[in-house]
């Protein structure tokens, strides 16, 4: 950076940047303000003329109502998201390892074919999936959803791990091979220990996408154990009276787990997006 210029001239450029950034910040936070403020308003306070004002009386009953409605589905979502992200991370790691460091003839084609699954519009497989679930007698519910998230998570997890393993020097693998290590030993003793960053990324990614999924949940979720997105949608559209207070509290509650993950591990998240999509 040009130190002298910075000292002598008023930093107009920086000022403009701050103004633009703060304006953007305000716009991005408007919906958050609305969510927060409305969730604490009583129905008496919900008059259109007061929509943008703070609550006259901060009232938590909306939160209580939303919590009661969503609590069971939060548990359902957790019991869906945790196993599905772990399993698909494991699969992705093994795939990534093989496709980058233990290649077989045609590995590139296989990788490309797997990768296409990442872009698959699920609408194009929903009907046969429904038939499959019906004919196989699998039934709806959390186990079926876990299966779907694992299977359709393979492409992205494979991609992220493969791109990561590509950056591992080939010598490391060579050395292990020369020592007579088989594939699995190489994987477990050499590759896996240095995969932690990628695991964090993939776990966050899969956690977020499975938690936020609505389409699969709508089709393959059981009616008795809805996941949180479905329960929230029912809450928001469900009650005959548009219960905005409880819906907004519910939206916040439903977002807490992903936000926590994001806040705690946000750095890796960004890293993951990069390694996942920006290649080379």
């Amino acid at each position: 950076m040009n130190e002298t210029a910075k000292k002598n001239v008023f930093p107009w450029g920086t000022l403009v940047r701050y103004i633009l950034l703060l304006a953007s910040l305000t716009l991005v936070l408007i919906p958050v303000y609305v969510l927060f403020v409305t969730s604490f308003k009583t129905s008496a306070d919900a008059d259109p003329s007061r929509t943008w004002m703070l609550p006259q009386l901060w009232d938590a009953t909306n939160w209580g109502r939303a919590w009661d409605t969503l609590y069971p589905s939060l548990i359902n979502s957790l019991s869906l998201v945790i196993p599905s992200s772990i399993i698909s991370a494991m699969l992705g790691s093994m795939n990534g390892f093989v496709l980058s460091k233990w290649r077989f003839p045609g590995a590139n084609i296989v990788f490309t074919l797997i990768l296409f699954g990442m872009f698959l519009p699920y609408q194009a497989v929903m009907i046969p999936l429904m038939n499959l679930v019906t004919n196989a007698g699998i039934g709806f519910g959390i186990p079926t959803l876990i299966m779907m998230h694992v299977v359709f998570g393979i492409p992205i997890t494979t991609l992220i791990f493969r791109n990561y393993y590509e950056t591992i020097p080939g010598e490391l693998i060579e050395a292990a091979r020369v020592d007579g290590a088989g594939m699995l030993r190489t994987y477990f003793s050499v590759v896996l220990p240095i995969s932690i960053p990628s695991f964090v990324v993939v776990l966050i990614w899969q956690f977020t996408s499975a938690w936020n999924d609505f389409l699969f949940a709508l089709f393959f979720g059981g009616s008795k154990d809805p996941v949180v997105t479905v329960a929230l949608n029912n809450l928001a559209h469900g009650s005959i009276m548009a219960d905005y207070g409880a819906s907004m509290a519910g939206a916040l509650i439903a977002s807490i787990p992903t936000l926590l993950v994001y806040i705690a591990l946000g750095k890796y998240f960004v890293g993951g997006l990069m390694s996942g999509s920006v290649k080379g």
């Binding site: 919906p31 393979i154 080939g170 929230l232 949608n233 999509s277």
Partner: protein, 310 residues
């Protein structure tokens, strides 16, 4: 691909790469069945006349009708409307996220105090589900005006921008653009992160060298920075574009599946499916697949060739 591994794999035979193939065979089988097998089955269903519950349950037979479902769909003005909506939505969603994402990345590229905070706040909406953001945007995009206005319309009134009030999702031509607003809100931060990575990936020496050569700021961008960012922009287009084709959650939570102004093929597919019209649902799914494939397959092939070169 590292040359050394290649040398090894050519040296030894199946014993060397066999276990690898075996290790990932579960994934290959799963993807084979659940992606390609299902695509095939879906295409078959889309060429039948399974339009009723009785045919779905197998009580009545279904016949093979070739491409006639597709012909009828494309001739149906309501489906054409869905396709136009999809195009409009995609264009606005893409342009919006790319412009805003680029702007933010550009603003944050050079060191600035509070960068971390800005970056985190710009990105957090992508951690939220479309369903949750739909709750608040449904409220913000309330179409009522005047006395009963709430949401953004009320805000416009209060800050003296009353002329900006509009009917949002209820507008027959641009209603679907209103749905793109929350989509842009959620994904701009993601595109920013991509571009930021791109900016940071440009070596400082490259910039310095250009400056020493006396390049203006604009020339610097045109000749060095933009070409470096081009692959990232392409990735962003592919990722946002395919998300846009799938968009369903947001529309379901902001309007509903019967709102004409905001319907897209994914909504039509859902409606057909709940009406037990499996063949049309499958046909719409196939159409979406073809649209995605037109964009993604060349990209993937290109990408695969690139990585083979390395």
């Amino acid at each position: 691909m590292a040359k050394k591994t290649k040398a090894v794999s050519s040296k030894s035979k199946i014993s060397s790469w066999g276990p690898g193939l075996l290790l990932i065979s579960p994934s290959i089988i799963l993807v084979g069945v659940f992606v390609y097998g299902m695509i095939g089955a879906n295409i078959i269903t889309s060429m039948k006349d399974t339009h009723t519950a009785a045919q779905v349950s197998g009580r009545k037979p279904s016949d093979f009708v070739g491409f006639s479902n597709f012909g009828k769909l494309f001739a149906d003005p309501d489906f054409q409307h869905s396709l136009i909506n999809l195009l409009l939505f995609t264009v606005v969603f893409l342009v919006g996220t790319l412009l805003i994402g680029f702007l933010w990345a550009w603003l944050l590229d050079r060191p600035i105090k509070g960068e971390g905070i800005f970056r985190s706040i710009f990105m957090f909406p992508m951690a939220i589900s479309f369903v949750a953001s739909g709750v608040v945007w449904r409220w913000l995009l309330n179409p009522a005006k005047g006395e009963t206005a709430s949401g953004l319309n009320r805000l416009f009134q209060q800050v003296g921008l009353g002329f900006l009030q509009n009917s949002w999702t209820q507008n027959i031509t641009f209603g679907v653009v209103a749905i793109a607003l929350p989509a842009i809100w959620q994904l701009s931060g993601y595109v920013m992160a991509l571009f930021l990575a791109g900016f940071r990936g440009i070596p400082d020496e490259l910039r310095e060298a250009a400056r020493v050569d006396g390049a203006t700021e604009w020339q610097l961008y045109k000749q060095i920075i933009f070409p470096q960012l081009a692959p990232i922009a392409l990735s962003a287009v592919i990722i946002i574009g395919h998300m846009s084709l799938k968009s369903f959650d947001l529309i379901m939570s902001i309007t509903d599946q019967r709102t004409y102004s905001t319907k897209v093929p994914a909504i039509d597919m859902f409606n057909a499916m709940t009406d037990n019209d499996y063949s049309n649902a499958a046909a719409i799914g196939t159409i979406l697949l073809v649209i995605v494939a037109i964009f993604v397959v060349p990209y993937l092939i290109h990408d695969s060739k690139e990585s083979a070169k390395r």
